[in-house]
Amino acid sequence: MGLAVAFWILAAIIVAAALGVIFLKNVFRAALSLVVCLVAIAGIFVTLSADFLAVVQILVYVGAISVVIILAIMLTREFTRGSPFNRLKIPAFIITAVFFGFVAYAVLGTKWQISTAAPQTPTTHALGELLFGPNGFILPLEIAAVLILAVIIGAIVIARDR
Protein backbone atom coordinates (compact mmCIF):
# COMPACT_ATOMS: atom_id res chain seq x y z
CA MET A 1 0.00 0.00 0.00
CA GLY A 2 2.77 2.40 0.94
CA LEU A 3 4.58 1.37 -2.22
CA ALA A 4 1.54 2.25 -4.34
CA VAL A 5 1.21 5.70 -2.73
CA ALA A 6 4.93 6.34 -3.23
CA PHE A 7 4.69 5.22 -6.87
CA TRP A 8 1.78 7.52 -7.71
CA ILE A 9 3.35 10.55 -6.00
CA LEU A 10 6.73 9.95 -7.69
CA ALA A 11 5.10 9.30 -11.07
CA ALA A 12 3.14 12.57 -10.82
CA ILE A 13 6.33 14.47 -9.91
CA ILE A 14 8.25 12.84 -12.78
CA VAL A 15 5.64 13.62 -15.44
CA ALA A 16 5.13 17.19 -14.19
CA ALA A 17 8.88 17.87 -14.05
CA ALA A 18 9.44 16.33 -17.51
CA LEU A 19 6.68 18.53 -18.94
CA GLY A 20 8.33 21.47 -17.17
CA VAL A 21 11.61 20.67 -18.94
CA ILE A 22 9.86 20.99 -22.30
CA PHE A 23 7.46 23.87 -21.64
CA LEU A 24 9.32 26.23 -19.28
CA LYS A 25 10.41 29.37 -21.11
CA ASN A 26 13.64 29.85 -19.16
CA VAL A 27 16.41 27.36 -20.05
CA PHE A 28 17.89 27.51 -16.56
CA ARG A 29 14.52 26.66 -14.99
CA ALA A 30 14.19 23.78 -17.47
CA ALA A 31 17.53 22.42 -16.23
CA LEU A 32 16.38 22.72 -12.60
CA SER A 33 13.17 20.92 -13.55
CA LEU A 34 15.37 18.16 -15.01
CA VAL A 35 17.07 17.87 -11.59
CA VAL A 36 13.67 17.41 -9.89
CA CYS A 37 12.77 14.76 -12.46
CA LEU A 38 16.06 12.88 -11.90
CA VAL A 39 15.66 12.87 -8.10
CA ALA A 40 12.12 11.50 -8.45
CA ILE A 41 13.45 8.78 -10.79
CA ALA A 42 15.93 7.84 -8.05
CA GLY A 43 12.87 7.44 -5.79
CA ILE A 44 11.28 5.19 -8.42
CA PHE A 45 14.44 3.03 -8.32
CA VAL A 46 14.03 2.76 -4.54
CA THR A 47 10.45 1.52 -4.96
CA LEU A 48 11.85 -1.09 -7.39
CA SER A 49 14.32 -2.16 -4.62
CA ALA A 50 17.32 -1.08 -6.72
CA ASP A 51 19.11 0.75 -3.92
CA PHE A 52 22.55 0.89 -5.55
CA LEU A 53 21.13 2.31 -8.78
CA ALA A 54 19.23 4.98 -6.83
CA VAL A 55 22.47 6.15 -5.21
CA VAL A 56 24.30 6.08 -8.55
CA GLN A 57 21.43 8.04 -10.11
CA ILE A 58 21.82 10.76 -7.47
CA LEU A 59 25.63 10.80 -7.77
CA VAL A 60 25.98 10.69 -11.55
CA TYR A 61 22.86 12.43 -12.85
CA VAL A 62 21.98 14.90 -10.11
CA GLY A 63 25.54 15.45 -8.98
CA ALA A 64 27.52 15.50 -12.21
CA ILE A 65 25.42 15.65 -15.38
CA SER A 66 23.08 18.42 -14.22
CA VAL A 67 26.02 20.51 -13.02
CA VAL A 68 27.71 20.15 -16.43
CA ILE A 69 24.46 21.08 -18.21
CA ILE A 70 23.96 24.17 -16.04
CA LEU A 71 27.60 25.12 -16.64
CA ALA A 72 27.05 24.86 -20.40
CA ILE A 73 23.90 27.01 -20.15
CA MET A 74 25.96 29.61 -18.30
CA LEU A 75 28.80 29.49 -20.83
CA THR A 76 26.61 29.84 -23.94
CA ARG A 77 24.43 32.72 -22.71
CA GLU A 78 21.69 31.48 -25.03
CA PHE A 79 19.15 31.69 -22.19
CA THR A 80 18.43 35.33 -23.02
CA ARG A 81 16.46 34.03 -26.01
CA GLY A 82 14.50 31.55 -23.93
CA SER A 83 13.65 28.03 -24.99
CA PRO A 84 11.41 28.38 -28.07
CA PHE A 85 9.75 25.69 -30.16
CA ASN A 86 10.39 25.25 -33.86
CA ARG A 87 7.70 24.92 -36.52
CA LEU A 88 7.39 21.15 -36.18
CA LYS A 89 5.30 21.28 -33.00
CA ILE A 90 2.10 19.74 -34.39
CA PRO A 91 3.64 16.97 -36.58
CA ALA A 92 6.04 16.11 -33.76
CA PHE A 93 3.14 15.87 -31.33
CA ILE A 94 1.24 13.58 -33.69
CA ILE A 95 4.28 11.31 -34.19
CA THR A 96 4.97 11.20 -30.45
CA ALA A 97 1.32 10.44 -29.64
CA VAL A 98 1.25 7.61 -32.21
CA PHE A 99 4.52 6.25 -30.79
CA PHE A 100 3.17 6.33 -27.24
CA GLY A 101 -0.03 4.67 -28.43
CA PHE A 102 1.97 1.81 -29.92
CA VAL A 103 4.05 1.44 -26.73
CA ALA A 104 1.00 1.46 -24.47
CA TYR A 105 -0.80 -1.04 -26.74
CA ALA A 106 2.23 -3.37 -26.72
CA VAL A 107 2.73 -3.09 -22.95
CA LEU A 108 -0.92 -3.64 -22.04
CA GLY A 109 -1.46 -6.37 -24.65
CA THR A 110 1.47 -8.58 -23.60
CA LYS A 111 1.07 -11.39 -21.07
CA TRP A 112 4.11 -10.72 -18.88
CA GLN A 113 5.48 -13.69 -16.95
CA ILE A 114 5.65 -12.00 -13.58
CA SER A 115 8.01 -13.74 -11.15
CA THR A 116 6.85 -13.90 -7.54
CA ALA A 117 10.35 -14.27 -6.10
CA ALA A 118 11.34 -11.68 -3.52
CA PRO A 119 13.78 -9.02 -4.77
CA GLN A 120 17.37 -9.04 -3.56
CA THR A 121 18.28 -6.42 -0.99
CA PRO A 122 20.87 -4.99 -0.77
CA THR A 123 21.90 -5.25 -4.40
CA THR A 124 25.43 -3.85 -4.12
CA HIS A 125 27.20 -7.16 -3.48
CA ALA A 126 25.25 -9.01 -6.18
CA LEU A 127 25.93 -6.25 -8.72
CA GLY A 128 29.64 -6.36 -7.90
CA GLU A 129 29.66 -10.14 -8.35
CA LEU A 130 27.93 -9.77 -11.71
CA LEU A 131 30.26 -7.01 -12.91
CA PHE A 132 33.59 -8.47 -11.79
CA GLY A 133 32.96 -12.17 -11.16
CA PRO A 134 33.45 -15.07 -13.57
CA ASN A 135 30.85 -15.28 -16.37
CA GLY A 136 30.02 -11.68 -15.58
CA PHE A 137 30.18 -8.40 -17.43
CA ILE A 138 33.91 -7.75 -17.11
CA LEU A 139 34.45 -7.23 -20.86
CA PRO A 140 31.68 -4.59 -21.22
CA LEU A 141 33.07 -2.94 -18.08
CA GLU A 142 36.52 -2.64 -19.65
CA ILE A 143 34.99 -1.36 -22.90
CA ALA A 144 33.10 1.25 -20.85
CA ALA A 145 36.40 2.32 -19.29
CA VAL A 146 37.96 2.73 -22.75
CA LEU A 147 34.85 4.68 -23.83
CA ILE A 148 35.23 7.06 -20.87
CA LEU A 149 38.90 7.60 -21.73
CA ALA A 150 38.02 8.33 -25.37
CA VAL A 151 35.30 10.75 -24.20
CA ILE A 152 37.70 12.63 -21.92
CA ILE A 153 40.25 13.06 -24.73
CA GLY A 154 37.53 13.89 -27.27
CA ALA A 155 35.87 16.50 -25.07
CA ILE A 156 39.22 18.20 -24.40
CA VAL A 157 40.12 18.22 -28.11
CA ILE A 158 36.70 19.47 -29.26
CA ALA A 159 36.25 22.20 -26.66
CA ARG A 160 39.87 23.39 -26.68
CA ASP A 161 40.51 27.02 -27.54
CA ARG A 162 42.59 27.09 -30.69
Binding site: A4, I14, A72, E78, A104, S115, V151, A155
Partner: protein, 103 residues
Amino acid sequence: MTIGLEHYLILAGILFSIGLFGSFTKRNAIVILISIELMLNGVNVALVAFSRFITPEILTGQIFALFVMVVAAAEVAVGLAIIISIYRNRETIDTRNIDLMKW
Protein backbone atom coordinates in the same frame (compact mmCIF):
# COMPACT_ATOMS: atom_id res chain seq x y z
CA MET B 1 -4.82 -1.51 -6.56
CA THR B 2 -1.36 -2.99 -6.53
CA ILE B 3 1.41 -1.52 -8.62
CA GLY B 4 2.65 -3.91 -11.30
CA LEU B 5 5.05 -4.02 -14.19
CA GLU B 6 2.61 -2.27 -16.54
CA HIS B 7 2.51 0.87 -14.38
CA TYR B 8 6.27 1.26 -14.51
CA LEU B 9 6.41 0.53 -18.25
CA ILE B 10 3.69 3.09 -19.00
CA LEU B 11 5.56 5.64 -16.87
CA ALA B 12 8.74 4.86 -18.82
CA GLY B 13 6.82 5.25 -22.08
CA ILE B 14 5.44 8.64 -21.00
CA LEU B 15 8.92 9.82 -20.03
CA PHE B 16 10.40 8.61 -23.33
CA SER B 17 7.60 10.26 -25.33
CA ILE B 18 8.04 13.61 -23.57
CA GLY B 19 11.77 13.45 -24.29
CA LEU B 20 11.12 12.51 -27.93
CA PHE B 21 8.72 15.43 -28.34
CA GLY B 22 11.25 17.81 -26.81
CA SER B 23 14.12 16.63 -28.98
CA PHE B 24 11.93 17.03 -32.10
CA THR B 25 10.65 20.50 -31.33
CA LYS B 26 13.12 22.53 -29.28
CA ARG B 27 15.43 25.04 -30.94
CA ASN B 28 18.01 25.41 -28.17
CA ALA B 29 20.64 22.66 -28.59
CA ILE B 30 21.15 22.30 -24.81
CA VAL B 31 17.42 21.70 -24.30
CA ILE B 32 17.61 18.99 -26.98
CA LEU B 33 20.40 17.32 -24.99
CA ILE B 34 18.29 17.56 -21.81
CA SER B 35 15.40 15.92 -23.68
CA ILE B 36 17.70 13.06 -24.71
CA GLU B 37 18.57 12.64 -21.02
CA LEU B 38 14.84 12.29 -20.29
CA MET B 39 14.58 9.56 -22.94
CA LEU B 40 17.57 7.67 -21.49
CA ASN B 41 16.04 7.85 -18.01
CA GLY B 42 12.77 6.45 -19.34
CA VAL B 43 14.71 3.49 -20.74
CA ASN B 44 16.43 3.05 -17.37
CA VAL B 45 13.09 2.93 -15.55
CA ALA B 46 11.88 0.25 -17.98
CA LEU B 47 15.07 -1.82 -17.57
CA VAL B 48 14.97 -1.74 -13.77
CA ALA B 49 11.24 -2.55 -13.78
CA PHE B 50 11.88 -5.62 -15.97
CA SER B 51 14.70 -6.63 -13.66
CA ARG B 52 12.44 -6.32 -10.60
CA PHE B 53 9.32 -8.02 -11.90
CA ILE B 54 10.48 -10.62 -14.47
CA THR B 55 13.90 -11.77 -13.22
CA PRO B 56 14.31 -10.62 -9.61
CA GLU B 57 16.85 -13.34 -8.80
CA ILE B 58 19.41 -12.14 -11.40
CA LEU B 59 20.16 -8.45 -11.75
CA THR B 60 21.00 -8.20 -15.46
CA GLY B 61 18.51 -5.36 -16.04
CA GLN B 62 20.19 -3.23 -13.40
CA ILE B 63 23.60 -3.92 -14.99
CA PHE B 64 22.19 -2.70 -18.32
CA ALA B 65 20.86 0.42 -16.57
CA LEU B 66 24.35 1.06 -15.16
CA PHE B 67 25.87 0.87 -18.66
CA VAL B 68 23.15 3.19 -19.98
CA MET B 69 24.21 5.68 -17.30
CA VAL B 70 27.87 5.39 -18.38
CA VAL B 71 26.95 6.05 -22.01
CA ALA B 72 24.66 8.93 -20.99
CA ALA B 73 27.47 10.61 -19.07
CA ALA B 74 29.80 10.17 -22.05
CA GLU B 75 27.17 11.54 -24.42
CA VAL B 76 26.59 14.63 -22.30
CA ALA B 77 30.32 15.37 -22.06
CA VAL B 78 30.94 15.14 -25.80
CA GLY B 79 27.62 16.80 -26.71
CA LEU B 80 28.20 19.82 -24.53
CA ALA B 81 31.79 20.11 -25.80
CA ILE B 82 30.44 20.20 -29.36
CA ILE B 83 27.77 22.76 -28.39
CA ILE B 84 30.34 25.03 -26.74
CA SER B 85 32.61 24.71 -29.76
CA ILE B 86 29.71 25.65 -32.08
CA TYR B 87 28.83 28.59 -29.84
CA ARG B 88 32.42 29.81 -29.96
CA ASN B 89 32.49 29.69 -33.76
CA ARG B 90 28.97 30.86 -34.62
CA GLU B 91 27.78 32.80 -31.53
CA THR B 92 24.54 30.80 -31.46
CA ILE B 93 23.25 27.35 -30.55
CA ASP B 94 19.86 27.84 -32.20
CA THR B 95 19.42 24.72 -34.33
CA ARG B 96 17.85 26.77 -37.14
CA ASN B 97 21.12 28.66 -37.57
CA ILE B 98 23.41 25.61 -37.37
CA ASP B 99 22.94 24.69 -41.03
CA LEU B 100 26.49 24.11 -42.21
CA MET B 101 25.72 20.56 -43.34
CA LYS B 102 22.26 21.35 -44.74
CA TRP B 103 21.77 21.50 -48.51
